[in-house]
Symmetry: C2
Subunit: 343 residues, 2 copies
């Protein structure tokens, strides 16, 4: 099978495609280019390497990281070099996908976004190697950029990401560890990388150092808001939309922010119930839903939602360094959309 | 626990330390610096990230990849920048260790070099993340180098390595796939990376393009010789020295070169026996040893050994571009040592 021929017959997809968000409208023409570049980049004479990659791409995704890089670059300078922006944006999605495929091995996930995961289809062995392949491809693509600063930011962020994942895995099932490490874990899992995507977009557009730093902080706060919204959806989302059952994170031993807040408000019996659900794969789905209802009823969900609003506001405050433009408006809209999403 | 303090109390070790090889004598002062740099580089506030890394380092290893980089740089220019050489050599060992720890997850290995593997100690989850951590650290270290060519060579080699591993995993248990892909698999597993280490050493020493290419080819041939010698040891090595039983590769579904050659010479019954051992975890150790004896008796082992000699000769022929020096002699000695090793 000719890998490249296969790619031409296989259109990528991203979950936002049916979404009319303003940020997506502004980013869409460039995201289409990223989609094509993703397929070109992972072309391989080794069929399985290509097949795993294309399986991941065709499962879709929000493509929020490439969108952040694209919008930050164009909001800094609408005439910035599109080819360089697309290269970086593509590399950022490759790094993200590498982390997802390794996460699925780590969590033994069999379904993501309603599609069978690579580890369920090809086994852990191929998934570990497939993730390594995508990561290597990302750095190979970045090496064409001839910009050492980009490599420095992205590789250091990859370090922070793996440290965050290791910290999360070490903290599983321990409430004390989660209370101590929650912000560091979500920074590593999500926020640091979104910050890096924004910073690198600004670097490519040759923004002054202060703008690069402000956009990095914007991405960091958007990332916090994004991850905590994931936490909200784990407690109160619609399983049909988010593609997983309520309380899945809790059952995997991952404390969410609403659950951490609820520990302060629940009565001793409900508190014990909540703690008993953490990392407990024996618990029934009905029991988990009962616990989620208590987390909502005690007001913890609403408090956690307020935290996402605070993060989005902190993100928006960083944008004052930018001149008004379609792309700045898109960044404003993106920060707002992140906390209002239901998927 | 202070990660740096722990490192200071923990001396690294490499298997060659008791070996009086000329190449090792020349490389030793620099390998000591690499050993220190390895510990410094993986220091992390996340204890488990550091612990996994140090577990891997203290298990030792031949450190042949950093030695190749160091010797190629100094054989090109004895006054080459030592700090840059050590940085690259350290990054090369980090990439190698990342690939080992992921291999151990892939192969479900519980012991390597006589030490419990990271996946046996921390589980697959932490080992996947630990490998990602080492790889990210390698690229973060290389980004300090401000040399895009190095990043380009190493990231493209990482692509070739993962493609080779994926091809090997796809070929498991299929004799036709192994016959077709053997050289490509061992290029990806071992040879391409050794070639890249030599090439990057030459690049750091600012060698002319022809010298960089010649040293890349030297490393590639040394890598082929190294990997085929591993194959010989799987058939005829001393389990006490190599730290694993005879025929372990065969039982994992990996064809070795002696086994591939033996297929041409064995009588039909022994041929069936050999094919039946491939990827057969039910086979007894005595049966595997019996098959190995037949591979030796039919002359296939000796033919495969001759291939290592040919590769070493091809490697040596590349060194004519270098002026005579202690480091050139060390490279000659290294190519010869690789095919004469028993461990």
């Amino acid at each position: 099978m000719n890998a490249h021929a296969l790619y031409k017959g296989c259109s990528g997809s991203f979950d936002g495609a049916q979404d009319g968000s303003a940020w997506l409208v502004s980013a869409m023409p460039y995201l289409d280019k990223v989609e094509r570049k993703l397929g070109e980049t992972v072309a391989s004479e080794v069929d399985t390497a290509f097949d795993i990659s294309m399986h991941l791409f065709s499962a879709g995704g929000k493509r929020i990281r490439p969108a952040l890089a694209i919008l930050c670059a164009l909001a800094t300078d609408p005439m910035a070099d599109i080819e360089r922006i697309i290269n970086f944006a593509t590399a950022s999605e490759l790094v993200h996908m590498a982390s997802l495929v390794h996460d699925d091995v780590v969590d033994e996930t069999s379904e993501r976004r309603g599609t069978i995961t690579a580890n369920a289809k090809w086994g852990n062995k191929m998934s570990v190697l497939g993730g390594d392949y995508l990561l290597a491809k990302a750095f190979a693509l970045l090496s064409l950029e001839h910009n050492n600063e980009i490599i420095r930011v992205l590789s250091n962020t990859a370090v922070t990401m793996t440290e965050g994942e290791i910290l999360q895995a070490s903290s599983e099932g321990s409430i004390e560890a989660w209370q101590e490490n929650y912000w560091r874990i979500i920074k590593g899992k999500t926020a640091a990388f979104m910050g890096a995507c924004c910073e690198c977009g600004a670097i490519i557009a040759e923004a002054p150092a202060a703008t690069c730093a402000a956009l990095c902080e914007y991405g960091l706060q958007v990332g916090f808001a994004f991850q905590i919204t994931d936490d909200l959806l784990d407690i109160a989302g619609d399983p049909a939309l988010i593609g997983k059952e309520i309380g899945t994170d809790l059952m995997h031993g991952k404390f969410t922010l609403p659950a951490l807040i609820a520990l302060e408000y629940l009565d001793p019996q409900d508190r014990r119930l909540l703690l008993g659900s953490l990392g407990n794969s024996q618990i029934t789905r009905d029991e988990v839903r009962g616990i989620a209802d208590k987390v909502i009823a005690c007001g913890a969900l609403e408090q956690a939602r307020q935290v996402t609003v605070d993060c989005a506001e902190k993100a928006l405050a960083q944008l004052s360094c930018l001149a008004d433009s379609e792309y700045k408006s898109a960044l404003v809209n993106l920060a707002e959309s992140v906390i209002n999403r239901s998927v």
